[in-house]
Amino acid sequence: MRPPLRMNLGNPVTEDDRFDRPELQRELLSTIQHAPGVAMFGLRRIGKSSLLRWVERELTGQQHTVLLIDAQGIQSLDQLMAELLDQIAAKATGVHRVLLETFNQGAGLPKRLLDAFAKGKGVTLKGSEGISDYWESFAGLLESAFDRHDKPVVLLIDELPFFCKRLLDKTPSEREAAIQLLVTLRTWRQKAKPIKMILTGSIGLRALLRQHGIDQYHLAGLSNFDTPPLGGPVAVGLLHTEAPDFVDALARGQKLQGWTPEHTTVLLEECGVWYPLALQHAVHQLVLAGLPDPHHMRAVFSEQVRAMLNETFLVQFDARWRVYKALDTVEQTALRNLLGATVKAAQPISDLALVKAIRTRLEGPQISELLETLREDGFVACRLNRDHERFWHPSSPLVPVWWQRSGLGRKR
């Protein structure tokens, strides 16, 4: 039996608020061990940041130096780097020392920047001239310092796509700064001894780069990783008892008097999608409704829960699909047909079967890229079989619901 789970709606969770997902966590660790970088993109509020915090803790425990940057609210490359330097000062004193030594030797950076850095934690670079003006030198110094550090450095950047979007939507120089960052991150991944990284975000980077006409090559070395809903009787490939266990642990954590397995069953049936947020919200609403017996629970779902699920998840699909309208017609059609074929398939469908199903003049790599785009945007998820063949399926039961509602399947 899982330990009781404390309710926490709306936040990335740690410790007693976190529901352990051993299989998913193992898979994530395995991915970061075998790949230089992991891209964990998907819908908002599905648990990516919580997973990122778990990784931070886990890798720190495994003698890694983990630098976690939350890119929310950060408006420039300078601010991002200032945040990174703060992290370095706090968590990687070795790196910090190396950087200080190098900076003291001049290092090709203006004195003003060196002085600002030397002040240590909390440094904020101001003015028109900043790190981005000396980006190559600065990135090189960082890389060198990371290499000389006594522990492997893992870089975690949360909400990177939003940060890039902000820069790409601004001035040409800001756009250039965003590209500089992406190039640097790619370079670090592609080193013989890569600086490992996990990049997370609520919008897909591929669609964003395509929208802004930027080469997808900058994403080389990133393995996509899905954050699926909690597994249950109908989930693909995950522990079959994950969702019921989650609800049960949550009920015990809240000390809900009179909660029965039947409550759990009805909740899971009615909820439809088993992201932790959705299940917590359902329990929260049931508590507010006075915890009705299982036979009367359904009304709470129809009145309180489903509207929230719609507002939380289905609207995200709407917003993401709108972004695709900026793509060329052939790509738009292919995206629609790929998603349609995935939704209609009774079982997860392979790349080969998808190519046959959609009949497009696009080449295999292009189709693969479009599939990854759909994946980053939370429409589809992918599992590998033992031959490393990819099999695609809707990322959650909400996708077929949204597909039906959107009317895309009816378009010619």
Binding site: R6, M7, G10, D16, D17, R53, F162, L288, E311
Partner: protein, 654 residues
């Protein structure tokens, strides 16, 4: 009375004892907030992020009251918990997101100086740097407040949706807020209240950042509980059975809005409907800002739908509303749902249908809307606009009694308002198939009144009926009113009170001829009569045609009136519509005849006897003179008609 009405419901200034005494319902919501705080206290010392709570509810639903209740509860946690209750608005934070954190800092360290220290300062410099500095200083203040690190700050910010819009409007500012809220080991919990949305917009950084709790409207029982508690607090006697009944009316009328219920509660001690109406008007006037803000809180399309709902009539299904505004239901789904989410509208299943019909929950709001946006004519009496309230405040029979009461006082407009309320209520409560019968029964009840008063009321009723027919659309206007007149006529006929009978008939024909020509009216009945059983309708035809002829000749000589009586008496024996028409052609011809005054009386008696179903033979046995007249009545018009050339084609048969 108005002065007493508008007392401010300022919970921030209410005493702890009053807050506790008036604590009504919302146990589950209270418990959910307390549980979130308790969980956050458990998180202290760990890396977990505290939950943040958003309490939603329309204005006046008791959000501020809830923050005070939680404040009182929080005091029991002693030094482990600091509860910072900010004022309801924060004009001092204009364009300075960091000033919010500095405000918290002041309240923590120097609450006695917070008034001066938290004053507005001009925003200058790098916003990001200012925010970072403010975060650090606040953290230091928290460290100072809880030296052992084992404490939680609960910062209560009301109208948080407004604050987000005005102070954190830039996405970067909201992102910084979100980041601050979700950072590890944070020791400040935000407990915010809002009428609009705070965290449901996918494009905003705060998307789903709070544990949402929505305050429901008061139920009838909760409303009652509140009034019991309030009267006890005020040292008033317990509610009487009648007052308890009115609590129900208040709950329904305000849609369970606590503030409105509290304000309207003053009518519990007052039996006078007019004063209740005054109160309602005063509320709509004095609370104009409140209602404007409630409407302003809505997105534009939702406001448009609200307008269409009120102007076009309630209740209404989403399908009907979509049709009304000229679009498809799918297109109004989102703005319509927001009306529901803002507790502006409530739905009830439609009778005999799976559809839900919606109406505005707070009827004072509707009253305000009508008053403010032209739904009530300038100078119209207050009662006319509060028919809804009257329906709830009085039961059906009371409405009728009030209508009579005002009619007796010569206050016809007031009487009309009660009649309108009565008819609307009747319409709501009565199945369509039963409406006509029920209506007629009610008219019979009116027969107990004195004739002249009855007629006065009757006149008012025409307006009420017209109003009702606009609402229901189930009756043909003229036919319905004729039915109504007829019912009066029958009453007086049966009483053999013929002067009154004629007076009623006179009214009927006046009405008929005000909307139609004589021949059109006749034609109308001809069409109608072919569709109904003549045997059952003899009395009806008698009275109607009597009235028609009577009215036609009313401005002529008495003799012509008698011809009219004669005419319709004959009609009572004629079985076909064709003959009605033919007889009508004879009207001019008959007007030449001299009939003595005595005969007039006999004719009346004959008509009454016939309409009562007595045959000429039976009458002859009782009263030979009467029978004689009757025979004359029978013979005269027929012979004249027969003697007249039938070439007049004033009416087409079909």
């Amino acid at each position: 009375m108005n002065g007493a009405v508008i007392e401010t419901f300022n919970t921030h200034r209410m005493s702890e004892a009053a807050i506790k005494a008036l604590d009504t319902g919302r146990e589950a919501e209270q418990q959910a907030i307390k549980a979130a705080i308790e969980r956050n206290l458990d998180r202290i010392g760990s890396t977990s992020t505290p939950e943040h709570v958003a309490l939603y509810g329309p204005r006046g639903f008791g959000k501020s009251f809830m923050t005070r209740l939680i404040e009182i509860w929080a005091q029991q946690h002693g030094t482990r918990l600091r509860y910072l209750l900010l004022p309801e608005e924060q004009h001092n934070l204009a364009r300075s997101p960091d000033a919010l954190l500095r405000y918290f800092e002041q309240l923590l360290l120097h609450p006695e100086k917070a008034w001066e220290q938290a004053a507005f300062t001009w925003p200058s410099g790098d916003a990001s740097a200012r925010w970072s500095d403010a975060v650090k200083q606040l953290d230091a203040a928290i460290d100072q407040t809880f030296p052992d690190g084992q404490g939680l700050v609960v910062a209560v910010v009301e109208n948080f949706d407004m604050l987000l819009r005005d102070v954190f409007g830039e996405a970067s500012a909201e992102e910084r807020l979100r980041k601050w809220m979700t950072r590890k080991a944070n020791r400040i919990m935000l407990f915010v209240t809002a009428t609009g949305t705070v965290d449901i917009d996918y494009d905003r950084p705060l998307f789903r950042a709070f544990t949402d709790i929505r305050l429901p409207a008061w139920s009838e029982a909760e409303c009652l509980e509140y009034f019991h508690a309030r009267r006890k607090l005020e040292g008033k006697p317990e509610l009487t059975a009648e007052q308890i009944g009115r609590v129900r009316a208040i709950t329904l009328f305000t849609g369970g809005n606590p503030r409105m219920s509290q304000l309207l509660g003053q009518v519990l001690d007052d039996n006078d409907a007019l004063r209740a109406a005054e109160l309602l008007n005063a509320l709509a006037d004095k609370l104009a800002d409140y209602y404007r803000r409630r409407i302003d809180d809505l997105p534009q399309l939702s406001r448009g739908l609200l307008d269409a709902l009120i102007r076009g009539g309630e209740p209404c299904t989403p399908t009907e509303l979509a049709k009304r505004v000229g679009t498809e239901q799918s297109k109004i789904a989102r703005p319509f749902a927001l009306l529901r989410d803002h507790d502006i509208i409530v739905g009830q299943p439609a009778t005999g249908s799976s559809e839900i019909r919606y109406r505005v929950a707070d009827r004072v709001m509707v009253h305000f809307y009508r008053l403010r946006y032209g739904g009530v004519a300038p100078g119209a009496i207050s009662l006319a606009a509060i028919v809804d309230f009257l329906q709830l405040y009085f039961d059906q029979s009371e409405l009728l009694e009030e209508a009579k009461k005002f009619a007796e006082k010569g206050m016809h407009l007031e009487s009309e308002a009660f009649q309108a309320a009565y008819f609307q209520l009747w319409d709501t409560n009565t199945e369509k198939s039963e409406k006509k019968a029920s209506y007629i029964r009610e008219i019979h009840k009116l027969s107990k009144m004195e004739t002249e008063k009855l007629l006065d009321l009757f006149k008012d009723r025409i307006a009420a009926i017209e109003s009702k027919m606009r609402i229901t659309g189930i009756f043909n206007k003229e036919a319905h009113i004729i039915d109504l007149f007829h019912q009066f006529a029958v009453i007086f006929q049966r009483k053999r009170d013929f002067p009154k009978y004629f007076a009623v008939a006179q009214r009927e024909i006046e009405f008929q001829l005000s909307v139609k020509s004589f021949h059109d009216v006749l034609y109308f009945f001809w069409i109608r009569d072919e569709k109904i059983s003549l045997g059952l309708e003899v009395g009806w035809r008698l009275s109607i045609f009597h009235s028609i002829i009577n009215s036609v000749f009313s401005k002529s000589t008495p003799k012509e009136q008698i011809y009219g009586l004669l005419f319709i008496t004959v009609l009572g024996f004629i079985a076909t519509s064709n003959d009605y028409l033919e007889i009508s052609k004879a009207a001019d011809f008959l007007s030449d005849k001299e009939i003595p005054e005595q005969l007039k009386n006999l004719m009346v008696a004959a008509q009454a006897a016939l309409s009562a179903g007595k045959t000429s033979e039976s009458l002859e046995r009782v009263d030979p003179d009467f029978a004689k007249v009757l025979r004359l009545v029978w013979d005269l018009p027929l012979s004249n008609i027969q003697g007249r050339e039938r070439s007049g084609k004033r009416f087409s048969r079909r």
